[in-house]
């Protein structure tokens, strides 16, 4: 069941991949349908929370604070998790994380593991390492199972198989589970997965997971999920190994108050996801007897070192920015060449990879600001994108004026008020530059002649930039204005 993982070091540039994927009508349809559904549900449930903005602000401060004192809280987590009978391991990079997990699985005496969906283990390409060591890994999240059995790649953080429809999923299950008569109703498919996996839950003695939050003061772990496969993996096996990015730590139990409210509403448009599991360490007679947490750096400390990019690490992986992103909705996740797709991927991947790879990712955005609006921890993604574009420019030694202009734009994005004002102004100021004929939506960075509705030439400072890249004209109404109006309708 080997598959080639998404790897920014080998993936084609975003624009190249995007152009290819734009030709896949089925994929675009599936992605659009899924993101529409989640967005609608999310919007309803955000509107009913009258304290939503207060929750966001509190969560932002908690996450920023945790990063600012990350050394203190990791140390505190380690002490408390150890006191509670767990073992903490530290991994500088993906290879080290792979080595640690492979050794722990072997030590547990198992040649198989059951896995809970974890973008972090995707990031370190753990399944391939396990396989190379003769260890069979079973993905237990329905979407991850679809991906694994279909030898495919995840394309979304929360719903990794949203690019597949039921007919495609049935084909995969029919073939790999040997069920020639399988129906194509979603319930039939879920039931097939239930039967396929139940035997593994009862038999396999070692599990691998990620985590949503680590709680420093309790040495606790929080995992949120929907299907119950997570609970199976963290209660039935004898050994549990959780691979967790160092940025996932929060100081105290009370910090969960805003976070566990924001996450499900943002991620799946639910008031609460079906299961939240919280525990600290080993509890005799309840759950695994051996518990390991592998704390992963893998480039995160480099992101932390960049004071403007640092906020990227506040991310709680809800994927609301992906669902809201007009570029992601057109291209799907694979174009981003990394397990982290959409706006968060466009800022996270280049930073984790020191910008050597994925230099085009910061351009995979029209800077419409929708991602910032929906982000539950208020990561100013447009600001970080511009900061990264600026870095690309510096590295490539392009014209100084462009980098100056970038700084000006960055300043605008830094203030919400200025950003709104600039968006409104921008729509007026750009009028003479926009070709007027209506054509279908297109993405940034195409090399053909300028499309109607796209700005092909900009005066002054930005001139050099539009020589090589078309800017999409700003919509008549900003996303934000539209959003607010829809709310009232």
């Amino acid at each position: 069941m080997s598959r080639v993982p998404l790897d920014p070091r080998t993936a084609p540039a975003f624009q190249t991949a995007a152009k290819m994927l734009l030709g896949d009508a089925q994929l675009r349809k599936n992605v659009r349908h899924a993101t529409d559904v989640i967005q609608n549900k999310r919007r309803k449930l955000v509107e009913e929370k009258h304290d939503w903005q207060l929750l966001r602000e509190s969560a932002r401060q908690i996450r920023a604070h945790a990063l600012q004192h990350l050394d203190v809280y990791l140390d505190e987590f380690e002490r408390n998790f150890t006191r509670a009978g767990g073992v903490v391991h530290w991994a500088r990079d993906a290879a080290e994380a792979q080595r640690i997990v492979v050794a722990l699985v072997k030590e547990s005496g198992s040649s198989e593991v059951i896995k809970i969906k974890s973008m972090t283990t995707e990031e370190v390409q753990l399944n391939n390492a396990l396989e190379a060591a003769g260890i069979r890994a079973y993905e237990t999240d329905l979407a991850e199972l679809i991906i694994q059995l279909g030898e495919d790649q995840p394309s979304h953080i929360v719903v990794p198989a949203l690019h597949k429809n039921r007919a495609q999923i049935r084909e995969i299950f029919r073939r790999t589970m040997n069920l020639p008569d399988l129906g194509d109703k979603p319930a039939d498919l879920a039931d097939a997965a239930r039967r396929f996996l139940r035997e593994k839950f009862l038999r396999v003695k070692t599990a691998v997971s990620g985590a949503n939050f680590l709680i420093a003061e309790t040495g606790g772990i929080c995992i949120v999920e929907s299907e119950g496969n997570g609970r199976m993996c963290l209660t039935l096996p004898e050994t549990l190994i959780s691979v967790v990015g160092i940025e996932k730590v929060i100081p105290r139990w009370q910090d969960l108050e805003p976070l566990i409210q924001l996450l499900p509403r943002s991620a799946t448009g639910e008031r609460m996801n079906p299961y939240n599991s919280l525990w600290s360490g080993v509890h005799p007679g309840d759950g695994p007897r051996a518990m390991h947490v592998v704390l992963l750096d893998n480039g995160r400390t480099n992101v932390l070192a960049d004071s403007e990019g640092r906020q990227t690490l506040q991310c709680i992986r809800c994927a609301a920015c992906q669902n809201a992103c007009p570029v992601y909705r057109q291209t799907g996740g694979h174009a981003y060449g990394s397990v982290y797709a959409g706006p968060i991927g466009a800022i996270l991947t280049p930073q984790l990879m020191h910008m050597e790879h994925s230099q085009t990712l910061p351009y995979a955005s029209s800077l419409c600001g929708a991602c910032y609006e929906v982000c539950p921890v208020k990561i100013n993604i447009p600001e970080v994108l511009i900061h990264l574009r600026n870095k690309v420019v510096e590295q490539n030694g392009w014209y100084a004026p462009e980098s100056l202009a970038m700084k000006a734009v960055a300043a605008v994005f830094r203030s919400e008020r200025r950003f709104r004002a600039a968006q409104r102004l921008g729509r007026i100021a750009e009028l003479p530059l926009v070709k007027s004929e209506k054509r279908s939506f297109s993405i940034v960075g195409q090399k053909q002649a300028t499309k109607p509705g796209w700005i092909g030439w900009l005066p002054g400072l930005l001139g050099g930039w539009t020589d090589t890249r078309d800017l999409q004209a700003m919509p008549k109404e900003t996303f934000r204005d539209w959003w607010e109006k829809r709310g009232k309708a």
């Binding site: 600012q68 990791l74 839950f201 929907s226």
Partner: protein, 214 residues
């Protein structure tokens, strides 16, 4: 391994400056928490909302007075056609009526899989989200009990129901080290074309008996 630990912590410190528990504690105290943290609805409205949310998840909700619980359980179980029920230690005996009740004796996973139904009490209910909080205490038992069987009957007193998630998290603070599960409706997935399907691996059917005079 310690080399990795030292190197990562060192990189963190040089990335953003050295912190200390004292400095962190002072800064922590300044974090704004002005979101809603107490109930705004009346007790009656809270219970009504809780029931409504549970029903949205397709759970059936029954009301009973303290003296009627056993009879209510017997009625619910016979309605479901359930004859044999797994129970944790510490569940009141007078509730165990209308079926054969088997106390958990640390059954293996395979043995647990032989039970189709489980009955427990709970620590809290959260009205705004229709959530029930389970912990590893007497009357609720270890986490696997309420996971492997396909049907869960949960008995909860009305005075354990709070309005908001925040109130619940604050009430849980003293027992935050216990294994704790918040569940909201039956297990579900939306992984196939965003269609919500009930029941993948956790219990597919959940019923709740609310006990109290209110």
């Amino acid at each position: 391994m310690t080399a990795a630990r030292e190197e990562i912590l060192q990189k963190i410190r040089s990335a953003k400056g050295v912190s200390s528990p004292e400095v962190a504690a002072t800064a922590y105290a300044g974090i704004e928490r002005s979101y809603q943290s107490s109930a705004q609805l009346s007790r009656k409205e809270i219970l009504h909302l809780f029931e409504e949310r549970l029903r949205e998840y397709d759970a059936s909700v029954y009301r009973a007075s303290a003296a009627e619980v056993g009879a209510a359980v017997a009625g619910v179980l016979s309605g479901r056609g359930v004859h044999r029920v797994l129970v944790p230690e510490g569940l009141p005996l007078e509730w165990q009526q209308g079926a054969e009740f088997v106390a958990d004796r640390g059954f293996s996973s395979a043995k647990l899989d032989g039970f189709a139904s489980v009955m427990t009490t709970a620590t809290l209910g959260i009205a705004e989200t229709g959530t029930i909080v389970l912990q590893n205490v007497s009357g609720q038992g270890r986490r696997a009990l309420t996971l492997v069987p396909d049907y869960h009957l949960c008995i909860l007193s009305t005075n354990q129901v709070v309005e908001t998630v925040v109130e619940a998290m604050r009430l849980l603070e003293p027992t935050r080290n216990l294994p704790t599960t918040l569940f909201s409706g039956p297990s579900a997935t939306a992984d196939i074309e965003m269609t919500r399907i009930k029941g993948v691996h956790g219990p597919r059917f959940v019923d709740v008996v609310l006990v109290g005079e209110e």
